[in-house]
Symmetry: C2
C-alpha cells in the first residue's frame, strides 16, 4: 500500500467550498487504498491578514510574536480540513507543527527544519487515519512556534515525505504543472511531464513560481519524488525526479523570466585586489542577497562591477555601494530598476554545445541588447531591458522549445 504526502496550497483551501473539494479528493485517494498524509497552507489571504494586524501595531514586530500570530492560519485550515474529511466518513486527525513535532532551529519567520519525529504520525496512519499536518511551521528547541518563510508548506511536505519514506510527495496547486514558460506570456507553453531536481531548482530560482527552491533542494537531497499537479483535475502534472540520461536529450527544458531585480553598477573602479571583496562583504554583512555579479576585464587600470539584487533591497544596496565607491575612489554608482533576467534551463546543455550562441543570436535577431550574462552548467541567464522581457521569452520559447526559426525584426 503506497504512502502519499499531499500538499494543498492556500488557494486550494481558500473557502469552505474548496476545503470540501480537497476532502473529496483525499477521500478518493483513501478509497483507492492510499495511505495519506495531507499538508495544508493557510486559507488564501489569511497569512497576509494576520501579518497586517502585526504590522498595524509595529513597523518591526518581534519575529517570535509574528510567528505566534501567523502560524494560526494553517492551524485553522487543518482543523477545518479534518472536520470536512470526517463529514465524508473518512477518519482523520490534524496536527500543528509542534504536535508532530516538526523541530526547527530558532530563526523566527525563516526557520529551517532540523528533525521530524514521525512516531505520532505513523501511529495514527496505523489506525487507518488520514493525518493532516499544518504546513509552514515548526517548534524551536526552546518550545517557541517558528515559521519556515513563504512557500514553507512545500518544504514541510517534502520533509515529511522524506521522514516517512513516502512513495511520492504530491504538490497540488492552481496550475496543472510546471510549464516550459509562463503560459500567461507564451500561448504555446507546454506542461513539462518530467524535470530533474536541478532543472527545477534553476527554474525556481529564476522566477518560476510553482515551487520554492528550498523545498526542491530538500527533495533532491533525500530523493523525494515530487508530483506537481492541479487541485482541480485528475490529470498528471509534472514529475520532479532524479536526473537520468534521457533528460539530456533535450537541450532546453524551459524558459524563465524574473522582473524583481535591480542592477547596480559601480563604475570606474580602480583595478586593485580586494575591492570586490570589500563591496560584497559590506552587502553580505547587511543581509543583502546578491544574485548576478559581473566584472569584466579592466581597461587602463579601471573596471566596472555590476550586480543585481532584489528590488526591495535596491535602495539599501545602492547606499552601501556608494559608501564603498567613495572609500575606494571609484567613479560612481549607477542603478537600473527596469531590467529583466531571462534564462534558458536544461540538463542537455551539458552535452549539447551551442545553446549560449543560439540564445544570443535569438535575442540579437529580435533587436534586444544584453546587459550582462551569467551561466551555470545547466542554465544561461541574460539581463535585458524590462520592456523586452515578454518578447524575449516568446522568441526563446519558439526557438528552443517549439524549435521554430525566429524572425528578424529590423
Amino acid at each position: 500500500m503506497s504512502l502519499v504526502v499531499k500538499k494543498f496550497g492556500g488557494t486550494s483551501v481558500g473557502s469552505i467550498e474548496r476545503i470540501k473539494n480537497v476532502a473529496k479528493r483525499v477521500k478518493e485517494a483513501v478509497d483507492k487504498g492510499e495511505k495519506v498524509v495531507v499538508v495544508s497552507s493557510a486559507m488564501s489571504g489569511e497569512t497576509d491578514r494576520l501579518l497586517s494586524l502585526a504590522y498595524e501595531i509595529s513597523n518591526r514586530p518581534d519575529p517570535r510574536e509574528v510567528d505566534q500570530v501567523v502560524s494560526t492560519g494553517e492551524q485553522v485550515a487543518i482543523g477545518l480540513l479534518s472536520i470536512a474529511l470526517q463529514e465524508l466518513g473518512v477518519s482523520a486527525i490534524s496536527f500543528t507543527g509542534w504536535q508532530v513535532p516538526i523541530e526547527t532551529d530558532s530563526v523566527h519567520t525563516k526557520a529551517r527544519i532540523t528533525h521530524i519525529k514521525k512516531e505520532r504520525i505513523l501511529e495514527e496512519i496505523e489506525k487507518g487515519k488520514v493525518v493532516i499536518v499544518a504546513g509552514f511551521q515548526g517548534i524551536s528547541p526552546k518550545g517557541d512556534i517558528t515559521t519556515l518563510g513563504r512557500g514553507g508548506s512545500d518544504t514541510t511536505a517534502v520533509a515529511l515525505a522524506a521522514a516517512l519514506n513516502a512513495d511520492v510527495c504530491e504538490i497540488y496547486t492552481d496550475v496543472p504543472g510546471v510549464f516550459t514558460a509562463d503560459p500567461r506570456i507564451v500561448d504555446d507553453a507546454r506542461k513539462i511531464p518530467v524535470i530533474s531536481y536541478e532543472e527545477m531548482m534553476e527554474m525556481a530560482s529564476l522566477g518560476s513560481k510553482v515551487m520554492q527552491i528550498r523545498s526542491v533542494e530538500f527533495a533532491a537531497k533525500y530523493g523525494v519524488k515530487i508530483h506537481v499537479r492541479s487541485s482541480f483535475s485528475d490529470e498528471d502534472g509534472t514529475w520532479i525526479v532524479e536526473e537520468n540520461e534521457d533528460m539530456e536529450k533535450v537541450a532546453v527544458r524551459g524558459i524563465s523570466h524574473e522582473l524583481k531585480e535591480s542592477r547596480i553598477t559601480v563604475v570606474k573602479v580602480p583595478d586593485k585586489p580586494g575591492i570586490a571583496a570589500k563591496l560584497f562583504k559590506a552587502l553580505g554583512d547587511n543581509n543583502i542577497v546578491v544574485d548576478m555579479i559581473v566584472q569584466n576585464v579592466s581597461h587602463e587600470g579601471f573596471t566596472d562591477i555590476s550586480f543585481t539584487v532584489n528590488k526591495t533591497d535596491a535602495d539599501f544596496a545602492e547606499d552601501i555601494a556608494r559608501e564603498v565607491a567613495e572609500e575606494v575612489g571609484a567613479g560612481g554608482v549607477e542603478r537600473n530598476d527596469k531590467i529583466a533576467k531571462i534564462s534558458v534551463v536544461g540538463l542537455g546543455m551539458k552535452t549539447h554545445a551551442g545553446t549560449a550562441g543560439k540564445m544570443f543570436e535569438v535575442l540579437h535577431k529580435i533587436g534586444v541588447n544584453i546587459y550582462a550574462i551569467s551561466t551555470s552548467e545547466i542554465k544561461i541567464s541574460c539581463l535585458i531591458d524590462e520592456k523586452y522581457a515578454e518578447l524575449a521569452v516568446r522568441a526563446l520559447h519558439e526557438a528552443f522549445i517549439e524549435d521554430k526559426d525566429v524572425m528578424v525584426i529590423d
Copy 2:
C-alpha cells in the same frame, strides 16, 4: 513587589486600537512596579467566526478539531498584545496554553484545568518580562489542544493567580464592576464594592453575566482575591473575596434575573416511588442540565412535577418528558417558554429572617404571580411571567437595595 494577573476579555482586545489601549494600561502597572501576567481572550467576534466555519462544514464537528480551530483566536490576541507592549518599550512574551503548559483533562470544548506548570512563566517574570497567556485553552494528557468552554478565560486567569500565588486577579471588562441589578433595567443599580465568593457564584448562576461561575468557584477554593473592573477607567470595581462578618449585615446583595429558561411540567403523575428518578435520569442521560425542580404534595394519588431547562434544550427535554409521561401513565406534558427567574442573593439571609416573606410580598404588591420557588441558604429564586421580569427586578431592587417601600399596583 506585587504580582498581579490581569485578564482582558474579547471587547477589551476587540480592535488594534483597543489592544494598544490594553498595552498602555499594562505599561502603567509595570511602571508602578507591578509584576504582571496578562490573560487575554480572543478579539471579540473571532471565536464565533471560527466556530461558524467549523459548523459550515459539519453539524457535529469533532470537538478535538473544533478546539484546534477555535483556540487560534486567543493565540492571535496574545501575539498582538505582546507586540503592542514591546512597541511601548515593555519587555513581553506570549504563551499559548500548551506552551505554559496549562494541563487539562481530555474533555474537548469544556475541559477542566488539572495542573499549571509555573516554571516557564516565573522564569520570564524573573527576567523582568510581562508574560501574556492565552485564556480559554490548555493541553490534554495526549498533547491535544483543549478549550475550557465559554468564559474560560476567567478560569485561566484565576487558576494562574492561584498557581503563581498572585496578590490579586484583576478581571477587566466593559462594565465598571458587579451591580446590585442589571443597570440596563434598574436606573439606580449600584456598583457592589465587595462581595463574597458564594454570593458571586449565586449571582453568576442566576444570570449576572460579569463572571463565569466556574472561575469564581475556583477562586473560592484557592482563596484568590478577584477585582472586577473596567478596561476603560482607573476607578475601583468590585472585589470578590472570602466572606466576613461585615457582609452579613446586608440581607440582600443583589437582584438577578434570567430569561433563558423554559419550564416543563409533567401533569397528573401517579404518586409512586421512582417516577421522578426515571424522569431526571432520562434527562441526565441525554446531557440535559436541569435547573429548578418543583414537586408539590400530591392530591388523590397524583402530583405535578415541574422543572426548568435552558431554552436551547427545551425541545429535546419536552420529547423526553412526553416519553416518560406516557410510560408512567401521567396526564400529559405542558411547556412554557415565556418565563423568567428572578432571584435575590445575599449572605445576610443566613441571619436576617423574613427575606423570603418580603420578596413574595413585593411581587404580590405589584401583581405578579409566582409559578415556582426555589431557595438556598443565600438566595431565593421565583419563577414568574417573562413579561413582568423588568418590573419585578425594579420593585425588588427598590425594596431590598434602595430600601424604599413598594407601591401597590391594583
